[in-house]
C-alpha cells in the first residue's frame, strides 16, 4: 500500500524533483561559491535543471515523440513539441553564453592572476 503510494508519488513528481533539485543546487553554487569557474559550473547545472523542467511540463502520459517516423505512431498521442523546440534553442544558446563567460573568466585570470570573486575588487562597475 505504502509502496504503491510511493510509486504514484514518484510517477507524478520525480521529474519535477529532479529539475528543481538541479535548479536549487545550481543557485546554491552561485550564491555560496567564490570561484568564478565554479560559479559558471553552477550556472550550467541550473540551466540543465530549467531545461528538464520545461520538457517535463510538455510531457504527456503515454505520448510518443513528435516524429512521424513510421505509420504506427499516427494513432497515438504525441508530446508537446513546442517546449522541445524551445529547449533545443536554449541549449545551443547556453553553450554559447557559457563559452563567452569562460573566456571572460580566462581574461580576468590573465589580468588579476586570481579567480576569487571576493578579491577582484576593481571589477565593480
Amino acid at each position: 500500500m505504502v509502496f504503491s503510494q510511493v510509486i504514484h508519488f514518484l510517477q507524478n513528481h520525480i521529474y519535477y524533483i529532479g529539475a528543481f533539485g538541479l535548479i536549487f543546487i545550481g543557485l546554491l553554487i552561485i550564491l555560496v561559491k567564490h570561484n568564478l569557474i565554479k560559479v559558471i559550473i553552477g550556472l550550467s547545472i541550473l540551466e540543465t535543471g530549467v531545461n528538464l523542467f520545461l520538457i517535463a511540463v510538455g510531457y504527456i502520459s503515454n505520448g510518443t515523440a513528435p516524429i512521424f517516423s513510421n505509420p504506427s505512431v499516427e494513432t497515438q498521442r504525441m508530446v508537446d513539441p513546442v517546449p522541445q523546440a524551445l529547449v533545443l534553442t536554449a541549449i545551443v544558446i547556453g553553450v554559447a553564453v557559457l563559452a563567452l563567460a569562460l573566456s571572460l573568466a580566462i581574461r580576468l585570470y590573465q589580468h588579476y592572476g586570481i579567480l576569487d570573486l571576493r578579491q577582484i575588487r576593481e571589477q565593480k562597475w
Partner: protein
C-alpha cells in the same frame, strides 16, 4: 521503469551535489558532465529525442571540453 528513472534522478542530484563540494574543479566539471548526461537520458524518457541528442552532444561533450580548456588556462583547484 519509474524506479529506474528515480534512481537516475537520485544519481543526477548526487552528481550535482558532488559538483558543489569538489575542490578540484576538474572533478566538478566531470560531475556536471554527468548531470548533463543523465539529463539527456531523462529527456529521452520524456519522449524528446531531439533535445536528448542536443544535450548529449552539446551539454555533455562540448561544454565539458570548453570547461576543461578553460581550467587548463586558469587554475585547477578552488581555494
Amino acid at each position: 521503469m519509474i524506479l529506474v528513472v528515480s534512481l537516475l534522478v537520485l544519481v543526477m542530484l548526487l552528481a550535482a551535489i558532488a559538483a558543489f563540494f569538489f575542490k578540484d574543479l576538474m572533478s566538478a566539471v566531470i560531475a556536471a558532465c554527468m548531470v548533463s548526461l543523465i539529463a539527456s537520458i531523462l529527456f529521452y524518457f520524456l519522449q524528446a529525442p531531439d533535445v536528448a541528442m542536443a544535450e548529449a552532444s552539446i551539454g555533455a561533450a562540448l561544454v565539458t571540453a570548453v570547461f576543461i580548456v578553460a581550467i587548463r588556462r586558469t587554475e585547477r583547484y578552488e581555494k
